[in-house]
């Protein structure tokens, strides 16, 4: 068969969020992939410039539903560092507990979605059933199953009562047992093994060259975790390990994520048992001093970076969000070449894509009434200086 362009998206049963893949296929083998990621652009960065530090945190939370605490904490952390605030240890521990609970629910969700993508709906139903235990815990602590609203600049908003701590600790042993069963299942279930092994292989050099982050990179042997290399919150006090794997394919990424589930459970248990006493917030000043800061955070999908520039007022001048999914899309385009068309959803699901996080850039052409994206050459051309001779691509 000659080369055919199969257009997957923006509406497709395999996609949770709109994205356009133009896959060039030769029979069942993929030759090339072209991405259009701008469908979920909502103008969050501009909206953040018009809200003061109390009103901007709910906005940052709502960048993404699954990693909402990540965005809100990364932003609050950056502003606190600019203001040179020292937040009390009890607040750090509470933020860590919510962060790791979020990581657990995100990885359980991912496991279900990965199973659904290969048609193994049973594992999908079971992992989402176990995820309910995590959601119940978070609802008791913060009042909502997503968009927890725990952060404010200067600390956390709510305290954890002893009853909530006990209830959370009681749910953990059952989750531990279920996670052990999933470790077993993934390494012995035949259809999962033959669909995941050898699919989407990414070597360590390629992972480093294309800027892959998160479990996708750690599955290729890159030992990089922002929580260990640039510690924040309470991670320096808690004993835990970074999970890496050498397989580099989708099977390796599955093992890394299940390993991280295990580690997160240990961190949550340690923090709940050793919660320090004290206040949960300090009063933050109204304005932030002038400065720039890069705040990094290990979201469930990888390293999240917020670049914040302030100018002495009570609003930010510019916030730029570089999400982990944006860094991982290149690796998808690389490891898809010469794979089967049937493996496309598996490889895309293996980086745990979150399009709401990714769509930060879109081009609007008012005259032609079109939207679209820009190539790297065009971006370089637009940023040329006056004395550089360049042809418009």
């Amino acid at each position: 068969m000659p080369e055919v362009v199969v257009s997957i998206g923006p509406h497709h049963p395999a996609l949770k969020e709109p994205v356009n893949f133009k896959v060039v296929v030769d029979g069942e083998k993929i030759v090339r992939l072209e991405l259009d990621l701008s469908y979920n652009h909502r103008g969050v960065e501009k909206a953040a410039e018009q809200r003061d530090f109390i009103r901007v945190l709910p906005l940052m939370e709502r960048v993404c539903g699954i990693c909402s605490h990540s965005h809100s904490t990364a932003f609050a952390k950056g502003i606190e560092e600019l203001m040179q605030l020292e937040i009390p240890p009890r607040a750090q521990y509470i933020r860590t507990i919510i962060a790791e609970l979020e990581r657990m629910h995100s990885h359980l969700l991912w496991l279900g979605v990965a199973a659904h993508v290969i048609g193994f709906n049973t594992l999908f139903m079971w992992t989402w059933r176990d995820r309910e235990a995590v959601q119940d815990t978070v609802e008791e602590m913060s009042g909502n199953r997503v968009h927890y609203g725990m952060n404010e600049v200067g600390g956390v908003r709510r305290d954890l009562t002893p009853a909530q701590v006990t209830a959370a600790l009681e749910r953990l042993p059952n989750l531990e047992e279920r996670i052990k069963k999933y470790v077993d299942m993934v390494s012995s279930e035949e259809t999962m093994l033959i669909r995941f092994r050898g699919v989407g292989k990414l070597s360590k050099e390629e992972a480093l060259k294309y800027g892959t982050v998160g479990p996708t990179a750690r599955a290729s042997g890159v030992d990089y975790d922002t929580r260990k290399d640039d510690p924040y919150l309470a991670y320096a006090d808690v004993p835990w390990n970074v999970v890496t794997d050498t397989n580099g394919d989708v099977y390796g990424r599955t093992r890394v994520r299940i390993g991280e589930l295990w580690e997160s459970l240990k961190i949550v248990r340690y923090c709940l048992e050793n919660l320090p006493e004290g206040s949960i917030r300090v009063t933050a000043p109204r304005n932030a001093p002038t400065g720039e800061i890069l705040s990094r955070y290990e979201a469930p999908r990888g390293e999240l970076a917020h670049f914040i520039r302030t100018n002495g007022t009570d609003k930010v001048e510019r916030v730029d969000i570089r999400t982990p999914t944006l860094a991982n899309w290149t690796s998808v385009a690389i490891c898809l070449v010469n794979q089967n068309l049937a493996d496309l959803p598996v490889i895309v699901a293996a980086i745990d894509p979150c399009l709401s996080c990714t769509s930060r850039i879109t081009l609007l052409d008012k005259q032609a009434k079109k939207t679209g994206v820009m190539s790297l050459d065009e971006l370089i051309w637009r940023n040329r200086s006056r004395d550089q001779e360049q042809v418009r691509p």
């Binding site: 809200r51 109390i54 009103r55 901007v56 709910p58 906005l59 709502r62 049973t122 594992l123 079971w126 059933r129 609802e139 008791e140 602590m141 913060s142 009042g143 909502n144 968009h147 609203g149 404010e152 908003r157 709510r158 909530q164 069963k181 077993d184 299942m185 012995s188 279930e189």
Partner: protein
């Protein structure tokens, strides 16, 4: 093997689905539900209106004498919340000095009528 065993154990036991509305889930105390205002406590400071991220709270005319910290205040305005614009973030509850505006435990429904307000 573990998959097969679990499958047959599940076949012989009850499903874990909670059959709402016949069975109900206990709502935790910290749940952020529908917004509500206790008129006797509000001193009209407008803080809730200033911190609301969705700009769902407007201050309308509402003179009343209110007791606060042992003193009697003459308030001029009181808040009015557009119910379906409220995102239930709880910032109004956090910043209210008297606890007059708060989020209840009951579910806040959704709808399309933008004019429905809570006073």
């Amino acid at each position: 093997m573990s998959v097969l065993r679990e499958m047959f154990e599940n076949l012989l036991s009850r499903p874990i689905t909670i059959l709402y509305p016949k069975e109900k889930v206990p709502i935790p105390g910290a749940f952020r539900g529908r917004v509500a205002i206790t008129d006797e406590k509000c001193i009209g400071c407008s803080k809730c209106s200033l911190v609301c991220p969705a700009r769902a709270i407007t201050m309308i005319d509402g003179p009343r004498e209110v007791e606060f910290n042992g003193k009697t205040l003459n308030r001029k305005k009181r808040p009015q919340v557009k119910l379906y614009k409220c995102i239930r973030c709880g910032l109004c509850e956090r910043h209210c000095p008297t606890g007059a505006i708060f989020l209840k435990n009951e579910l806040s429904s959704s709808g399309t009528d933008g004019e429905i307000v809570v006073m």
